[in-house]
Symmetry: C2
Subunit: 362 residues, 2 copies
């Protein structure tokens, strides 16, 4: 992704440290932050300096590498892995990445681990880029097909929730990769961007889409139902934090409400995800551990004041209790298709099983 | 409603002017604002210093009275009515109140109008209080019935959207009147309060409920679907800005998404409204004119900063386009019952027709 004419990734190795885009200062300030230890990586994942299911997986892999530079005994591998996995419970990519690295490191002698862990993390980052490019190609195909079905309207109206863009991955994104590639190939996509309270990741999506030149309009999370009633949404395209073996989708809270509305209006609801987002150990969405975040993410918000400074303001009256679940479950029945790096599949036991066969063959 | 031990109404006559609760400074500062002319009333309705379907009807009636104190010819009556009706297009109570006052004023000689218009507005305000008290009694009955059906759980969990409380009426509220009366009669109500972006009227609801001692928890608009999935919502209770003759409900944007989710989970979805909210000229919700408000209500937000001052901050990146529809339509099929001052009816042609018969008999 280009920002101010320079190609950037959301995360990149820089000598003995890792640089990440600081997503907490966006959309107002674009800056990189340096993470030099596994503790700093864990903090950055927890406080959402880095966020997005694929990206936190890659960040955690680099966290493992940073830990190995200090101490690389078996106990160090396990401690680093535990610390990283504990940061956020819902997105499965994080656990998947850490466990993959851990498994490989424990198979080799400790002295090889410092160098090998960098290599494994770098490989994961590269693989994420390729994966998302492929997801984008499949997803763009779906969007083009929808555009043709509708008789090539002047705008193909796509609604998205949260940020499943390059900021949440290493590059490209998942849902937004499809939108970028559709746009680049001449489909006149216009994106309705859900604000995505309480953390307003919609602002990140608006920022990304503007950098790429994709027309977009920000709306309150409440507006999507009306837009669908008015016939102004042709497709929904979102990411995922975890998908079960029967195709239930755990994604940013609010996704389910849009999926229900899309189903009520016969609008395709697509979920884009890398294979690493599938939890092969869980069948039903209800089994997923939903993360609850701090109440003050609901009662307070940060933005840029008139003087240009980032300021935090309180929205709710003093003493207000708030609850802040970060995810919800969209049952497979509400999902029109899953878009993966291996192709487009049905959100069902059968669809996922076909994916697992490909995965084993690969 | 008591605030700091004193009984308040959202609007009250004060000599040759009208005092209203300034809802833009809430929930942080509670203060009254004086409106001394029809122009000031129109501005206060437009900028939402006064808001809520019933309240803006009463405010407009006082606006007519203020206009009549200056000039009371037929042309003055019509000009004041046009100005007031133009302020907000969707809530039907506003038009209903202004047209009722206009009709009565035009039937009398101009010299009688200044005094008569005060009396008409006062009567409307008194009638609003009585109406809402009755809505509350019927609605509380529904909530109690639900609580008994469920085997008297320790908490009856009621979700509400926006503010349909005493701040949006003269006193009591509509949806919240039901909650207040249920609470007062010993039903252990706990309220999930939707934040209600973009204007965060959920903060007003939290403020009101806290004043009355009703337990409540603020949630992002996105959270309701998950709460319903978890079985943590027993009923929804909302207000309405306009209801059609077949029972379609126009209410604050986002209501429809919650109604769809409630239907998917078999949760009763109640809409509380005074008879004056019914538009007898419109059958289908799609025919209602939806108000669009300024984009900066989405891209910016006001709150209290650390120094205790109200500050406006920008949430979206520079140059972001936003669309800001204020209402959506919940089709009658998603509404379990309409709660009116005359009783609880089915949201259907038949239900509304029975209401019209009562109305004509009354």
């Amino acid at each position: 992704m280009k920002v101010n004419g320079t190609h950037h990734r959301s995360i990149q190795r820089s000598g003995a440290a890792v640089q990440v885009v600081d997503q907490r200062s966006l959309p107002h300030v674009f800056r990189m932050q340096t993470l030099s230890s596994v503790g700093e990586v864990a903090d950055a994942i927890r406080d959402m300096t880095v966020r997005g299911a694929p990206l936190i997986g890659v960040a955690a892999a680099y966290g493992m590498a940073l830990a190995m530079q200090v101490q690389a005994d078996d106990g160090d591998v396990s401690r680093a892995a535990s610390l990283l996995v504990s940061t956020r419970p819902t997105a499965i990519n994080l656990r998947w990445a850490v466990e993959a690295i851990q498994r490989q490191l424990l198979r080799m002698p400790a002295p090889l681990r410092p160098a090998a862990s960098w290599q494994l993390a770098d490989e994961l980052a590269e693989s994420d880029v390729l994966t998302n490019q492929r997801i984008g190609a499949w997803g763009a195909g779906l969007l083009r097909q929808r555009w043709l079905e509708l008789g090539q309207p002047a705008r193909l109206e796509v609604l998205t929730h949260c940020n499943a863009g390059w900021l949440g991955c290493v590059d490209w994104g998942t849902a937004l990769a499809a939108i970028y590639q559709a746009h680049d190939s001449g489909v006149p996509v216009h994106v309705w961007v859900d604000e995505t309270r309480p953390r307003n990741q919609g602002a990140l999506t608006c920022w990304e889409l503007a950098r790429h030149g994709v027309p977009a309009t920000l709306v309150a999370d409440n507006a999507g139902g009306l837009l669908m009633q008015q016939g102004r949404v042709h497709a929904c395209m979102v990411g995922a934090d975890r998908v079960t073996t029967q195709g239930d989708v755990c994604n940013k809270v609010g996704t389910y409400l849009k999926a229900l509305a899309a189903r009520a209006h016969g609008i395709p609801f697509y979920v884009a995800l890398p294979l690493s987002t599938v939890d092969w150990t869980i069948q039903r969405g209800e089994e997923i551990d939903i993360e609850y975040r701090a109440a003050d993410e609901v009662t307070h918000v940060s933005g840029r004041n008139a003087a240009g400074h980032i300021e935090r303001v309180q929205l709710a009256p003093d003493g207000t209790l708030a609850e802040n679940p970060a995810f919800d479950i969209t049952p497979a029945a509400c999902v029109s298709a899953l878009v993966t790096e291996l192709g487009v599949i049905e959100a069902s036991e059968r669809g996922l099983a076909s994916l697992q066969q490909y995965r084993k063959a690969a």
